[in-house]
């Protein structure tokens, strides 16, 4: 390992306390790596040199002055470019907002500054977080974000840059956002650990709104434990976000414990016939690892409801309301992806009755999840049912059932594949954990889904899984950056 940026938060904290490196050293390492490698993956929206060095020097003063300091003091990180950072470009990944500069910090960036973390970069994203429904991975001001494990493949969306930057060791952790899969998908595709918090646990003040009844902000890190440390810093009430739940999160709640007796629900076929053939061996191994923890295994089924239709309708209606001026003014057609523009335009035509029908289906889904969580403590499922597709493949629904990279028809996906939109509609938390590689050498992941505010259980169980596996410690082969000035 050539850079300290692949260390976990606990390891970085130890290094800072033992003076193996300073916060300024870490910030410089991150800035150098972002400059040298960020462009290779289209992962970076902007590099924040001055701010990073200012915050790093303040962190070093804090580390010198206090006998005990918080876990994030001096740790560099990157934030998805939908979060406002005072004075820096905040482009939302979209050409019509390429020159947007906001003069305040988003609540999560404020919280992380208070915790002593060092903001080094804004990270690339799918334009407007993909709310219109995009057709190509290239739907971004920064271009298609390449996967560090194989640059011919996509890093996933919409927190694409955060996933790629953490995987490539440009930053030790990053902040992403999820409306329906935008933390889980890039975390799985890039082999990093990502946490989608319960709706309302993390303030969205200063974040671009897409679908305000579904938007959530969360960490993408090296490990489940790291996700817990970052969540502890960013969770909490905020009167500036009307969706804030008034709850916090404390890592003490996720302390190690015995896992025998914990009820884990699964959908039959999810780790076998429902997943892509190139992923089955890794998925079976993940199940075996969880079984070795002594958990109780319980069959569940997702309710037969139009989950995808409800999620699409709510996101389309709320997103088109948010961007109404952009759409009616015509600038929506300046977006990179034509289907995304058309989706936002068509969203203005969703009727109030359709929107409310989707909200009623959502209520039925919430009731169904309450019944599921009366039977089990947590649900285990593949995060994605196939490895990352190629960056030049369209994301048409029929392509999701084909073998990635081959164009040949693959196994139709069934089982718990609707768990991502379902979990987002219901607002429950999920943790994506790397669980190995496909036979095509791309990362794979499983997700743990818990009841509302069940993050402690997810982080604790995720930490136990990562104590007996090392998939989260694997790093992609990164060819050296070309020398500057040539």
């Amino acid at each position: 390992m050539e850079t300290p940026l692949y260390l976990t938060i606990s390891e970085l904290r130890d290094g800072l306390r033992r003076k193996q490196f300073s916060a300024v050293d870490l910030a410089r390492a991150a800035l150098d790596r972002l400059e040298a490698l960020g462009g290779r993956y289209n992962a970076v929206a902007s590099v924040l040199h001055d701010r990073a060095m200012r915050e790093a020097r303040a962190a070093d003063r804090r580390l010198r002055g206090a006998r005990r300091s918080g876990p994030l003091v001096g740790i560099p990180y990157g934030a998805k470019d939908l979060l406002a950072a005072a004075g820096a470009p905040t482009t939302w990944g979209a050409p019509p907002f390429a020159r947007q500069v906001l003069d305040y910090d988003a609540a999560v960036i404020e919280s992380l500054r208070r915790a002593g973390a060092v903001l080094v970069a804004k990270l690339a994203m799918i334009e407007l977080a993909g709310g219109g429904g995009y057709r190509y991975p290239s739907a971004s001001l920064q271009g298609a974000c390449r996967n560090p494990w194989n640059p011919a493949h996509w890093s996933g969306g919409s927190s694409s840059g955060t996933g790629a930057a953490v995987a490539a060791g440009l930053v030790p952790f990053g902040i992403g956002s999820e409306t329906s899969g935008s933390i889980l998908s890039p975390s799985a595709n890039c082999g990093v650990t990502g946490l989608r918090p319960t709706y309302g646990l993390v303030s969205r003040y200063g974040a671009m709104a897409l679908a305000w009844t579904m938007d959530k902000i969360g960490p993408m890190c090296r490990s489940a434990e790291d996700c817990g440390w970052v969540l502890e810093a960013i969770a909490g009430t905020d009167p500036r976000d009307p969706g804030a739940a008034g709850r916090g999160f404390n890592m003490r709640q996720a302390a190690p414990r015995r896992w025998s007796g914990v009820r884990v629900g699964y959908v039959p076929g999810d780790f076998d016939g429902n997943v892509h053939p190139t992923a089955r061996a890794a998925m079976r191994a993940a199940v075996a690892a969880f079984r070795s923890l002594g958990v109780r295994w319980t069959r569940i089924s997702l309710p037969a409801l139009p989950i995808d239709a409800a999620a699409r309708t709510i996101i389309r209606a709320e997103g088109s309301a948010v961007f109404r001026d952009l759409i009616t003014g015509g600038d929506v057609w300046k977006l990179v992806d034509r289907r995304q523009a058309a989706g936002l335009r068509a969203g203005l035509e969703v009727t109030a009755v359709e929107y409310l029908s989707a909200m009623r289906v959502r209520r039925m889904l919430q009731d169904a999840f309450r019944r599921i969580f009366a039977e089990v403590d947590v649900i285990l499922a593949p995060t994605r049912y196939a490895p990352a597709g190629r960056i030049d493949e369209p994301l048409d629904p029929q392509w999701r059932t084909r073998a990635p990279g081959t164009g040949r028809r693959g196994t139709p996906v069934g089982g718990g594949v609707a768990l991502v939109p379902a979990g987002n509609l219901v607002g429950v938390p999920a943790l994506s954990l790397p669980c190995g590689f496909s036979t095509t050498r791309l990362p794979l992941a499983v997700q743990l889904v818990g009841p509302p505010f069940g993050e402690a259980l997810l982080v604790g169980l995720g930490r136990a899984y990562q104590a007996i596996t090392d998939w989260h410690r694997r790093t992609p082969p990164i060819p050296p950056a070309p020398r500057r000035g040539r």
């Binding site: 290239s138 920064q142 992806d337 035509e349 009727t351 359709e354 030049d392 509302p452």
Partner: protein, 64 residues
């Protein structure tokens, strides 16, 4: 004036570093909009085809 050819390896490196836009949708905007509208109508029909029991009303402010 003849243009000098770049060495092959450098050209490959440059292509990898540049944002790639080659995958832009080749179909006309209006055709894409028609497709999206058709898909949206089908989504609406799917929702209308779901029986929702009386009393299943969404909260005005969503809470998980």
């Amino acid at each position: 004036m003849s243009r000098r050819k770049r060495p092959k390896s450098r050209a490959r490196g440059a292509a990898l570093a540049r944002p790639r836009r080659a995958t832009r949708d080749p179909r006309p905007a209006m055709r894409t909009l028609r497709e999206v509208r058709k898909n949206q109508m089908e989504t609406g029909e799917e929702l209308r085809g779901t029986t929702v029991p009386v009393g299943t009303e969404p909260a005005f402010i969503f809470t998980p």
